[in-house]
Amino acid sequence: MILFLTHEKDIFAKQCYLMLKYQYQVPTRWLSWQVFKKQSQCHMLGHQDIFNAMLPSPQQIDVLYINLNGLNECNKDNLDMKDQRYHLHSWLGFLMWYANQVKYCLNPLKHGVFSPGVWSKTNIRRQAHLCGLSVSEHRRKRTEVICSILGNQIITDDSTFLRTLGHERIKSSFKLFNMLELRFGQLFYDESGALCKLSQSIQYQISVPVIIKACQYMLSKLSYYGFQYLHVLNTNDGWTIGSKERPKIM
């Protein structure tokens, strides 16, 4: 089962969800934060059961797509700062546990990612340098080429740009994602191939190839008792067991 937990306007996630559900026909669910936060749930630590819930238990989820943007927006009204913080932390506390129970999470929610120091511009630049990427020095307006990273694939609308970027910098880009424990996201480069910024979600240039690759990536993480699900066959002009493998009985 693939579960999407995100905000209503996450177009990338919505498109992936629809393609997985209707084209690839795999068990898939989408829950916006607004709906998710109203679900009745009761989990027992160390047990797989989940009582009186409309949701699958974390152990039944093969892939969890989680985007925390918007989590705080559907809070109860009229809360003071202290209550707001407590409310948000309660949900983060639950999600951090939940995300670490599932087999595969995009992007992982390990405790280190909650420190503001990890996502500071200074740290991203430093890590990028360490990985061998050059970092753009321009602070304002410049032409940016957006590349989506999906697992071990890099995709961009500008097909010639990957040649500009070159093998080494592509390798460095993956290395940067690994260092930050990201599996999905986008990198923004200037025309020379220097890194401008990094995003932990996919928000721009959500093209058909990006959605297809993302779906294939998620499908590759589905497992059914020892085999891997790839896709639904659209034709019936083949054989599971070919005629040569079906000897005639004399």
Binding site: Q41, M44, L45, G93, G112, V113
Partner: protein, 279 residues
């Protein structure tokens, strides 16, 4: 020089600085409410009112007691983010780095990690939300996150409504034990209290030095390593000859316990760790 980060009203900071003064240890206190106002920093130095700038390279250790975000404008926010960067990535000797303290944001996440160790048990714990439950055996209810909640009520036979996620955990009567672990030093105290939550007891608690079995000590040190913590306050309960793990606090308020002991064991361990050169 040791850098101490926190807020003026924090008694733990007070106890640690008092210990530094007593031992003539050079330290600088950064009141986080003043960062970006009377105290500032850049890429090379700290600036304190009426004092010469302190170079980052002169700082041997940082004691981080960042507990709450102070009110801030954009400039102060920038300074705080820059400080986080120094704490997480640039200073060599920090107790504790912010990124390592975040496991406490989720108690069940921490309990899952702690359940990998065999010298203690984990109390039966449920996470419940948007549900009304009828409790049939003694349970306590507490916050699921690092937000503090007073846990003085034991639910036995009543109904309880859960809205935001919270923990419903089996009530374990017994002796509370607080274990402070700083690098490889362990200081354990027993707390005999009349209250379920000894922090909110109406009467004075009895606090005494407690001798832990070697394997529990080893597991606490190993847990700290797994969580990335160099200093923690681990809460255990001893009941029916078994230890139960409750949580590991990455910013323990140790001053309360230490004030009852014959020596400032925990301040000594902290000071020793912060004065040490880390490679």
């Amino acid at each position: 020089m040791i850098l101490v980060l926190g807020q003026c009203s924090d008694q733990v900071i007070g106890a640690f600085m008092h210990h530094c003064v007593k031992h003539s240890v050079d330290f600088a206190f950064v009141d986080l409410n003043q960062l970006g106002k009377s105290i500032d920093m850049d890429e090379l130095y700290w600036f304190f009112p009426g004092q010469s700038p302190v170079s980052h390279s002169d700082i041997t250790g940082v004691y981080n007691r960042f507990l709450d975000w102070p009110k801030q404008n954009k400039y102060q926010m920038d300074r705080l983010l820059s400080l986080f960067d120094w704490l997480d990535h640039r200073y060599e000797n920090v107790i504790n780095r912010p990124k390592d303290t975040m496991s406490n944001l989720s108690k069940p996440y921490q309990l899952d990690i702690a359940s990998q160790f065999y010298s203690w048990s984990i109390p039966k714990t449920n996470i419940i939300m948007n549900t009304q439950v009828k409790i049939k055996s003694p349970f306590i209810c507490k916050s699921i996150s690092s937000e503090r909640s007073i846990v003085n009520q034991v639910y036995r036979q009543e109904e309880k409504a859960f809205y935001e996620p919270a923990l419903l955990q089996a009530y374990i009567p017994g002796l509370n034990i607080r274990v402070h672990a700083c690098d490889d030093v362990i200081v354990a105290v027993g707390i005999q209290s009349d209250a379920v939550d000894y922090r909110y007891s109406r009467f004075e608690n009895d606090i005494f030095m407690y001798h832990l079995p070697g394997q529990v000590e080893k597991d606490i040190l190993a847990l700290n390593r797994t969580l990335g913590l160099r200093f923690s306050g681990v809460d255990l309960i001893y009941h029916n000859k078994k230890y139960y793990f409750l949580e590991a606090n990455p910013s323990p308020g140790y001053a309360y316990f230490e004030s009852q002991l014959s020596r400032p064991y925990i301040s000594e361990a902290l000071l020793s760790s912060l004065s040490r050169t880390v490679h």
